[in-house]
């Protein structure tokens, strides 16, 4: 069982496809929670290996912070914010779901080809984990533009962040502790601000459809 990194990276990619196929707010948040749990597991395994080999517990601490922040705190915060919003299912997409999933598949293929250009295409070795995590970033970006409602933007943002974190994790075996902490603080502020803004928008306009934000113009 020495290929657990590959397996975990594929499963993380899989959760992003599940997210793309969903249209309920509850399952958006649940899938994000699952994805973060898988990322925490990956970081935890890496952390334990690092602690055994070098005696450094940085990565292990980071994985515990992920569990506290992304598996427990942020999903609960989103649940609390969106329990007051009256719609529970996303209805009108720009494109239908099968097409969205096929485009995501195209994104994965794209990142396979582009990464093979960058990282040693000549010797025929592609780091599958890095490819999968870069696709995760792209899919998160695409998720943001494919959903009309504000929850989609927030979850998409969080998926992008997950993707960047896991890319860094797989390509460097753990970034410096201070960098990770800085990123986490950024995330938590962003989600807090977005949550409050969404709440306010909902209060003012009775809807969180981003197309209606044009009404702010005088």
């Amino acid at each position: 069982m020495d290929n657990y990194n590959q397996v975990l990276s594929v499963l993380i990619l899989l959760t992003s496809f599940m997210l793309m196929a969903n249209k309920r707010i509850k399952s958006y948040i649940g899938t994000f929670r699952l994805q973060s749990a898988l990322i925490a597991l990956t970081a935890g395994i890496m952390g334990i290996r690092a602690a055994m080999a070098e005696g450094s517990i940085d990565v292990l601490v980071v994985s515990i912070i992920i569990i506290a922040l992304k598996v427990i705190y942020i999903p609960n915060l989103l649940h609390k914010t969106f329990s007051g919003v009256e719609y529970k299912v996303e209805k009108d997409f720009f494109l239908n779901i099968p097409l969205l999933i096929l485009i995501c598949c195209g994104l994965v293929v794209f990142s396979y080809f582009s990464v093979s250009r960058v990282a040693g295409g000549s010797d025929g070795i592609m780091n599958a984990e890095v490819v999968n995590s870069i696709s995760l970033v792209l899919i998160g970006l695409f998720f943001m533009i494919s959903r009309r409602k504000a929850i989609g933007q927030i979850v998409g943002f969080l998926v992008i962040e997950n993707g960047i974190f896991i890319t860094a994790m797989f390509s460097t075996n753990g970034m410096p502790f201070i960098v990770d902490i800085g990123v986490f603080i950024d995330i938590i502020t962003a989600v807090l601000i977005m949550g409050i803004i969404v709440f306010k928008i909902n209060e003012k306009f009775d809807s969180i459809d981003i197309n209606k934000l044009k009404n702010l113009r005088g």
Binding site: V10, L14, F17, A21, I101, G124, M126
Partner: protein
Amino acid sequence: MNSLTYNILQLTVMILVAPLINGIIRKVKAFTQKRKGAPLLQMYFDLFKLIKKNTVVSETSSWIFKAAPYVVITTALGAGLMVPSVTLVAPSGFMGDIILLVYLLALGRFFMMLAGLDTGSTFGGMGSSREAMISALMEPSILITLFTAGLAAGTTSIGGIMTKVKEMPAPLTQPVFIMFFLATLIIIIAETSRIPVDDPSTHLELTMVHEAMILEYSGRHLAMMELGASVKQLVFITLLVNICLPLDQLITISGIGAIVLSLLLYLVKVSAAAVLIAIIEVNTVKFRFFSVPNLAALSFILAFIGFLEYFVLWR
């Protein structure tokens, strides 16, 4: 001689085990609803009763109506012959490959749809049109899924794939086979009319697909249709368990004892898969019919990512 033994063994296993799978699924569902449920062997009793009964054929129907049950059961058993339940007894010579398997099953389904249209009842026509849509959606994903396994094993013969997989260390820990497993699970649910796509235990005219097509059948013909459907289900489950979880390499003894042991292991694997399907069925609600494309797209993509992972990891 070896080929003859294989064929007899395979046909016996397929016919005898297939109704048991339905029994297990119904039993698990009954337990989750705090009922005792019908006995495990209920479907065998049903089939015996149906065979003894008279067959009623509508006067307005043509020969297709009478031929369809025979085509359905023959194609299902023919497909069953290609998917070895015990890989220790190898089929000799050309026994068909992935493409033949998929299109044999498609032939049976085509005749089932024709028979649904043949009697001219509204339900039959409705069921046939829905079935046509589901099969058109699932066909690419079945092919891609099986080709992914074939690519990893380096052959398109199903017996060949199963023997190749035995040499790999724990296939279910390889990304390719994880994707294969998930995609096949979705395919089983859609192909054998399980809950998110179709409800096998209801005759509600708004939702039924498979039941609507065979609504006009009775007696021996109905028994053949039912057995054909359950053999088809067993074919897909066998594909799933024998490719993802080959245990035959663990058997060290040889001869008749090895085959018996392998059959027992096969029964355990198949029952576990049936329990898994029942759990999925209990935990989901039936989809709107126009949400089925999402499921098909998802299984297609899962298989396709497995395909890509193969090129990245093993090339």
